[in-house]
Amino acid sequence: MNESSWELFVSSLGPLVLGAITGTIPLALSSFAIGLVLALALALMRLSRQRWISNIARVYISLVRGTPLLVQLYVIFYGLPSLGIVLDYWPSAIIAFSINVGGYAAEVIRAAILSVPKGQWEAAYMVGMSRSRTLSRIILPQAARVSVPPLSNTFISLVKDTSLASLVLVTELFREAEQIAAFSQEFMLIYLEAALVYWVICLVLSTGQGFLEKRLDRYVAR
């Protein structure tokens, strides 16, 4: 690497990291949080004994998983205005990513709930709990442990998928990279640098996953 490209590398790091901090990370965090709430609701709907309720969730999940995220993003940002619904960049992106995460995480949460032995429901009913209290106090805490690894996967994918938001004009890590690359014409260098920043973020997340798993494992035989 010659001196000028090193200088470019160093001088670009600031804007890229800033793009991550002000764009990528808040976008991923807020979409994940909203997506998880949505996913929990969908998982419970899927588990409902009412056929029509579970079917609504089934169709939702099928649509989300069966269509490209980029298309979902475009429908919301470029499509909705033709119906008179005009959303800003940020809300469009957050809505699209939340809807997407909701669909994927719903199946993770449903599987995690089903992985809790039936005897746990029975013991909770035996001590007099209602269905909703059994869920919140007995089943979900145990399901949480099971769902941390797959949900971490979902989250890490989401962090990288937020780069698509650059296409609906959200200023985040990748959009910064595109602008610097176009200006400097150093495509290889800048895109590799952007990749590096994504990688570092995901490394931090993986470490976090490790801690979380350890904490949730404290009541499990090793």
């Binding site: 032995p117 005897g119 746990q120 029975e122 013991a123 909770a124 009913y125 035996m126 001590v127 007099g128 709990m129 209602s130 209290r133 106090r137 007995i138 805490p141 145990q142 442990r145 404290r218 009541y219 499990v220 035989a221």
Partner: protein, 272 residues
């Protein structure tokens, strides 16, 4: 067992006394249950008086566990009635509402074959969960009561352990304490020692026997004939979804009236 008598739920009283004033704690009439097209319970009639220890014996698949689960509402019967301690009689055709089912569960507490302790809660938390969260009783009071019960079964030191740190026998004793802490009128045991290693069975059986002598009303599904003979005041032999024979242990075990009972006992006594 600890010599000091810990505070105990008020429900059970001396056998003789309670039989005199309020005879039937549990009355089951014409209870029916099918799983899909399979009839599991034909028509069960059962009366359990206060202070009675009833053992349900019978071959596997006979329906004895289903009877127990219906009594706690874990399985919903399709027909018949259950009446616990004079509360509104529960009718199963049509199915009872959630509220009614809850009243059924309030009266009884169950000890499971596989303990079913909450793995993410400590021993103490397992015991106080129902009384504090569901029954809304005072936490300090419930905790004191729970600690006394744990002391009684020799598990005081394990109060902050998680279930996975306990042996099967210890877990089952916690399961029993969890049931007692609910202050039920009726204790239900579903093969409480079947999942235990043979050397751990004794402690659990001894504890159940103690509870029996204290006057608790219990229904126990068991394979331990010797235990049934010693602890139960009545034995019912269940086969093919019906109660074939119901009587005092010495009569039923020594002189069964029914051929099916005789065959079952013979198979247990001479397995090969």
């Amino acid at each position: 067992m600890s010599p000091a008598d810990p505070p105990r739920p008020p429900a059970p009283q001396g056998v003789a006394q309670s039989r005199a004033d309020a005879p039937a704690l549990l009355t089951v009439r014409g209870l029916q249950k099918s799983f899909g097209t399979t009839r599991v319970l034909e028509s069960i009639d059962l009366t359990v008086n206060r202070g009675t220890v009833l053992a349900l014996i019978g071959p596997s698949g006979s329906g004895k566990t289903t009877i127990l689960r219906c009594l706690n509402g874990l399985d919903l019967a399709d027909g018949g009635t259950i009446d616990v301690a004079g509360y509104a009689t529960l009718t199963f055709d049509p199915a009872p509402g959630k509220k009614q089912l809850t009243t059924l569960r309030d009266r009884s507490a169950m000890v499971f074959q596989h303990y079913n302790l909450f793995p993410h809660k400590t021993v103490l938390e397992n015991v106080i969960e129902g009384p504090v969260i569901v029954q809304k009783r005072n936490r300090a009071e419930v905790t004191a009561e729970a600690l006394a019960l744990l002391d009684r079964v020799g598990l005081t030191e394990k109060k902050d352990s998680y279930p996975f740190e306990l042996s099967g026998g210890q877990q089952q004793r916690v399961g029993i304490v969890r049931a007692l802490a609910l202050r039920p009128q009726l204790l239900l045991f579903d093969e409480p020692t079947s999942a235990l290693d043979p050397e751990l069975v004794g402690d659990v059986l001894r504890l159940i026997k103690e509870l029996a002598t204290e006057g608790w009303t219990m229904v126990i599904v068991t394979h331990e004939l010797e235990f049934a003979r010693e602890v139960a005041s009545e034995i019912a032999f269940v086969d093919g979804g019906t109660i074939v024979e119901h009587g005092a242990p010495k009569d039923l075990l020594r002189n069964p009236r029914e051929e099916r009972t005789r065959q079952f006992l013979h198979r247990l006594l001479f397995p090969f």
